[in-house]
Amino acid sequence: MAPVAGGGYFCKEGETVKPVAFEYCRPETIAEAAGVLAQFREEAAVLAGGMTLGPMLNLRITRPRVVIDVTRIRGLDSIDVRGGTVATGATLVQADALESYVLRREVPLLALALPWVGHFQTRNRGTLGGSVAHADPSAEIPLCLVVTDGAVVLRSKRRERRVPAREFFLGALTTARRPDELLVAIEWRRAAPDAGYAFEEIAQRHGDFAIAAAACQVRLDGDGRIAVLALGLGGAEDHPVAVETKAFVGRVADEGTAAALAEHAVQSVVAMEDHVADAEFRLALSRELIRRVLPRAVADARLRKERLQ
């Protein structure tokens, strides 16, 4: 089948399918990428693994003039431990993050969540930065970043800035990234050695977008009471939310506390509705997931504490 010159590549001339025609840029440095972004701004789309942008392009949900392929920028897939943080480069592939001993040790919550991110075949291509930059309301990696209070590093032609994750995710597919900024890294806080973690989600098919997801981080004091607690929900609102948990510090981490925490959490969110699930169902699932993740995170914390002694 001969391609048609100048037109669609296998359809008849005049018919169009698949993405709109776009210019393709493949920068080799962050500066080059930032330069193209500065020039085209909203009309440019940054492409890494393409696990979100690819479908959006193919379905013409997005119609960029320029696609900037950042996958060949050298060093953008690094894992760097610096002081109290671990910085993961924007193009670090999810499968490589899952295999990383450093990340398993320093960011245990991410290691628990990654098997829920897409499928084997999409984790082989999808990146941490892509997931964070696209900000799907039910995406696992943004939820982990919010719960562990990490940050996002953005670079424009003029400057670099850090935005705390809890201020970065503004809504569905909407972030604090400015049109001329490139997400270059994600900063994770290194886990305390005695911190326990749990991650759970419910989806129609394993690997599909979560209808509801919950992530929990907990540290216990000498009496086994809650000393530090972070809880986050994905899929409930249009962005990952960190639940206010101060009232639960000092409480015994038992079933009653888990039930109270679940009740408190679902009352603090305004659940979204879509074709998959209504608000009531999302809240029911969230309640159940919180009842599961708190005891699991507590058990994990106890185990880690024992190992330290």
Partner: protein, 168 residues
């Protein structure tokens, strides 16, 4: 600096390796890798299903890793090594994995099969002795509407065992 910029409305030379052979063809920047492999390079074993990364039919190996070829673009694959189902065995023969699929009737219409074979190829390299649950987890990235998956799981587990015992 030598940033590559390819105009939207022109076709560009893409050179890559497919099943160990150097190949080249022309692609607009928006041309999907799967369409390039089929229509420019005639590797029709690459099946195109949903075209948005859900069904897994177009799965190929890029640098040895199983991934969708519908959510990446031909120009991105320039210089890469690609394996399609045509590269799994010599023409007219089947490798141990393909033989296991035959034994277990792990395909009916065969549309999803090339993608699943390539996923399983990469998967078994990483996990030569997989648990059934791991196989099912890997298969969650593919949609098969004929078999109900049980025969595919059995075939992959059987292939692993055959490959581990040096037969096939």
């Amino acid at each position: 600096m030598s940033m590559l910029r390819l105009a939207a409305d022109a076709r560009h030379r893409v050179e890559l390796s497919v099943n160990g052979t150097a190949r080249s063809g022309l692609a607009e920047p928006r041309m999907l890798l799967c369409d390039f492999l089929r229509h420019e390079l005639q590797t029709y074993g690459v099946h195109v299903g949903c075209e948005h990364g859900v069904c897994g039919a177009c799965t190929v190996l890029v640098e040895g890793r199983a991934m969708r070829s519908c959510t990446q673009y031909a120009v991105q694959a320039d210089g890469m090594h690609i394996t399609t189902v045509e590269g799994l065995a010599e023409p007219g023969t089947l490798n141990a994995l393909q033989q296991a699929f035959t034994r277990h009737h792990a395909l009916q219409c065969g549309f999803c099969t090339p993608g699943i074979l390539l996923s399983a190829t990469h998967f078994l390299k990483e996990r030569p002795r997989p648990q059934e649950a791991e196989v099912r987890d890997m298969l969650s990235g593919h949609i098969c509407r004929c078999t109900g998956y049980a025969a595919i799981v059995a075939a992959i587990l059987d292939a692993a065992s055959v490959m581990n015992h040096g037969a096939g």
